[in-house]
């Protein structure tokens, strides 16, 4: 699993995943924390819960996230 609960992340680009919705473009460049990683099968394809500063908590595809700090 690449992301763990408490990891500090950045939404650094738009995802190519079908789960990416247009409003999520507002999130690019924001920092936040992983609040609920893929809790079962460590699937890189799973949507994971991320809390972004000033924009709330959302479930995002993992390809748009990069790690900027550990818990």
């Amino acid at each position: 699993m690449q992301f763990q609960k408490g990891n500090k992340i950045e939404v650094y680009k738009a995802s190519t995943d079908e789960a990416w919705e247009p409003y999520m473009n507002d999130f690019i460049g924001l920092h936040g924390f992983i609040t609920d990683p893929d809790t079962t099968i460590n699937d890189p394809d799973a949507l994971i819960e991320v809390s972004l500063e000033g924009k709330g908590t959302h479930r995002l595809p993992q390809d748009c996230l990069r790690l900027i700090g550990h818990p």
Binding site: A19, P37, P44, G56
Partner: protein, 725 residues
């Protein structure tokens, strides 16, 4: 309207006050105003779509109808006036998602509230808990979450992850404080439902009585909809009841909160499978106007290894936990192996132990620090005697005569695969081993069971096997059909399901009222801004998060009694008081900059203000340097940092925390209040060549000028011009 006030914000305040004051006696006028308020709030928050302004225009026209009241007509006229004068400001809010005057951010939610998928106003209810107002706290929580007691025990608490206090020491124990308040309010018989609106003639069918379904049902019932929940299980709660063990969440907690929802008129049909016992067409004929699907993700993935289908001792975790929840307390085996590393695996293992298993082993294919289960759950499992076998890949389940005898595994190592930065478990050749076992429980994840959903033929499914929705409105691709919870996200959290249910209830109401849906998920709403609790800086710094008292280990290994016993009242009140009230301070850092860079004093050590690079915070150092000049307070847009004068003291307070306190001095001549001695010295240093404090007396500027003038007249009389020459 004041010139510098944002007209969008003014409209929100105007309508909120009009609705709250009860000025709109006519239900139609009230409904129109509420809908305009909703749309205007979304414009203020940057969540509005392109249709919002035209929808407001149409709603304003609706104020004019036969027998409309004078208040309605005046409201319409006022709103029309605001829109015609400031239309471009409204348009700019929608297009740029920005408020030029920053007025629309003044009630910006705190990070904890923003982080909560249900958007609960955390600082407000923590403030109420600190004051001992538990029932009022529950009232605040239930505006956004109808299951505060449940969440107080099992929430994954993203709010604590974003808690600003964690940048100083440890996050506020938000979850447990909520549980305490709910239990106390229930015990005091003060846990009450809010008043619901009269039946509006429309009915919504909710499929699934889990957290998402219950949440939607609650908010729809409050809005005046008739709600019928179809539930396949004989009990309410969905995964809350059948997947979370009783030692974490007692049945009574779920029952009590569900009963509160039923008290609003929500009907739950148990043992009723949608598509089998009741069909889409039947419900449509019965007058259902909209559907909300919250069926969860109850099907377990299988291991797909040899022997898995051969032995009755191989169970899937969800079925196992469900059977136990419904009363089957038989031990699965003496030597149980649970496969998986998530919370469900931990729950299955700890449940097996409580049912009498001698040895329980969790087999996980990766390492301990990669386990996705909550760290507290893992630690509690270890305390109870659960064993872990890490880097373990299942190979085969072996047995004789239908009885399992062993669980064959291969040791793994974590290796980075080509083109990926992820570590993947790879079997080590020849490192096979067997774990003695007579029962194997598979807990490697769940997926959505789409059986019965065929009737929703216009609804699309994602490639992940979940229902496709627009996340802003939880609308599926089939008009009038909405969905939320695990059925949409895949296995996720209770609070996400609750938030999704609330969002869907709002969207269903908009759909049935023909008003546009938001562009993005709604930003949480601040309902009130309670004054912060006053506390000394040293107390604010020294309060510590209390430790959770636990049930003793022997009892934990043998019974389903609640493991976490909860805080005592004194700890709860103290812990709530540790909150920094980030709903008031937006952490812009202006106060620190002004004190340090403009005034050159540097009295504010507030390292926690920086999200990315927090440095040391110490509220107690301010008093050593602060001159109570008030520059910080004068420049704080939110009045988070203020100067107050009371009881002979001048206080500098940051969200209630007293950073500095100085005795007020008075002018010896005229007795007006003077700035602090430190401030006067600071000014004297700056203006030393212009004016001096005479004879070490405490004087105001006016008296000092008078005295200087007298002295000058006496010592330096004005001489005739010619004499001077």
């Amino acid at each position: 309207m004041a010139e510098k006030t944002c007209p969008v914000r003014t409209t929100v305040i105007y309508l909120s006050e009009l609705i709250r004051s009860g000025g709109l006696t006519d239900p139609r006028g009230r409904r129109i105003s509420e809908q305009i308020l909703l749309l205007t709030e979304e414009i203020a928050e940057g969540a509005a779509g392109n249709d919002h302004l035209s929808a407001i225009d149409s709603l304003i026209e609706e104020y004019v109808y036969a027998n409309s009241t004078e208040t309605n007509l005046n409201t319409g006229k006022t709103l029309k006036g605001i829109l015609s004068a400031h239309r471009e400001v409204f348009q700019s809010h929608i297009e740029t998602r920005n408020c030029p005057t920053h007025d629309c951010a003044k009630l910006a939610p705190s990070p904890c509230q923003m982080a909560c998928p249900a958007g609960i106003d955390v600082p407000t209810y923590l403030g109420l808990i600190a004051e001992g107002k538990d029932a009022q706290a529950i009232e605040v929580i239930r505006r956004d979450n109808p299951l505060p007691w449940v969440c107080g025990l099992v929430c994954t608490r993203p709010c604590e992850m974003m808690c600003v206090r964690a940048r100083i020491d440890t996050p506020i124990s938000i979850k447990f404080l909520k549980a305490f308040a709910a239990e106390r309010a229930m015990s005091d018989r003060e846990y009450r439902n809010p008043e619901k609106k009269a039946f509006n003639g429309k009915t919504v069918c909710v499929i699934g009585a889990g957290p998402g379904g219950l949440s939607a049902a609650y908010y729809l019932a409050l809005m005046g909809y008739g709600v019928r929940i179809i539930e396949a299980l004989p009990v309410p709660g969905g995964m809350l009841m059948v997947a979370i063990p009783r030692y974490r969440l007692p049945k009574e907690v779920i029952d009590r909160e569900v009963a509160m929802i039923e008290d609003l008129g929500v009907q739950i049909s148990y043992n009723t499978r949608f598509g089998v016992d009741v069909t889409f067409d039947e419900l449509k004929k019965q007058g259902v106007d909209a559907f909300f699907i919250a069926i969860g993700a109850h099907k377990s993935w299988s291991l797909d290894i040899k022997g898995e289908k051969e032995f009755p001792g191989v169970l899937d975790a969800v079925t196992f936990l469900q059977d136990v929840a419904l009363g089957d307390y038989h031990t699965p085996g003496q030597h149980v192996v649970v496969v998986g590393g998530g919370n469900v695996a931990i729950d299955a293992a700890r449940t097996s132990l409580r049912l009498g298993a001698r040895k329980v082993t969790i087999a996980y294919r990766r390492s301990r620090n990669q386990m996705p289960a909550d760290i507290e759950e893992v630690e509690q499992a270890e305390e109870e005697g659960i064993e872990f076998s890490f880097l373990t890949i299942p190979k085969e389940i072996k047995g004789e005569n239908g009885i399992i005898t062993g669980f064959d595994c291969i040791k793994a190592e974590l290796i980075k695969k080509k083109g990926s930065d992820r570590l993947a478990p790879v079997p080590i050749l020849g490192k096979d081993f067997t774990i003695p076992a007579d029962a194997v429980i598979c807990a490697i994840g769940q997926y959505v069971d789409d059986k019965g959903m065929e009737a929703f033929d216009g609804m699309s499914w994602t490639r992940r096997g979940t229902i496709e929705v627009n996340h802003a409105s939880m609308e599926t691709t089939m008009p009038g059909v909405f969905a939320a919870g695990d059925a949409v996200s895949g296995p996720a959290t209770v609070i996400e399901a609750i938030g999704g249910g609330k969002r869907a209830a709002d969207a269903i109401d908009r759909y049935l009222s023909h008003i546009p849906q938001p562009r993005m998920p709604k930003i949480p709403i601040r309902h009130t801004m309670n004054p912060p609790m006053e506390m000394s800086a040293s107390r604010k710094m020294t309060l510590k998060r209390p430790k959770m008292p636990m049930l003793n280990v022997d009892r934990r290994r043998t019974t389903f009694q609640q493991v976490e016993l909860g805080y005592d009242e004194a700890s709860v009140r103290k812990e709530a008081g540790r909150c920094l009230r980030c709903d008031i301070c937006r952490r812009c850092g202006k106060c620190v900059e002004i004190c340090r860079d403009k005034m050159g004093i540097d009295a504010l050590k507030l390292g926690y203000l920086d999200f990315d690079n927090p440095s040391e915070t110490d509220f107690t150092v301010t008093k050593e340097k602060c001159i109570t000049c008030g520059a910080c307070a004068a420049n704080c847009e939110n009045k988070a940092i203020v100067i107050e004068e009371k009881d002979g003291q001048r206080l500098l307070k940051l969200c209630g925390t007293i950073l500095n306190s100085q005795t007020i001095q008075y002018c010896e001549e005229c007795h007006v209040i003077l700035p602090s001695a430190e401030y006067m010295q600071f000014i004297a240093k700056k203006t030393g060549h212009v004016s001096r404090v005479k004879h070490n007396r405490l004087l105001c500027d006016a008296c000092q000028r008078k005295l200087s003038a007298k002295v000058n007249v006496a010592t330096r009389p004005i001489l005739p011009k010619q004499t001077r020459e």
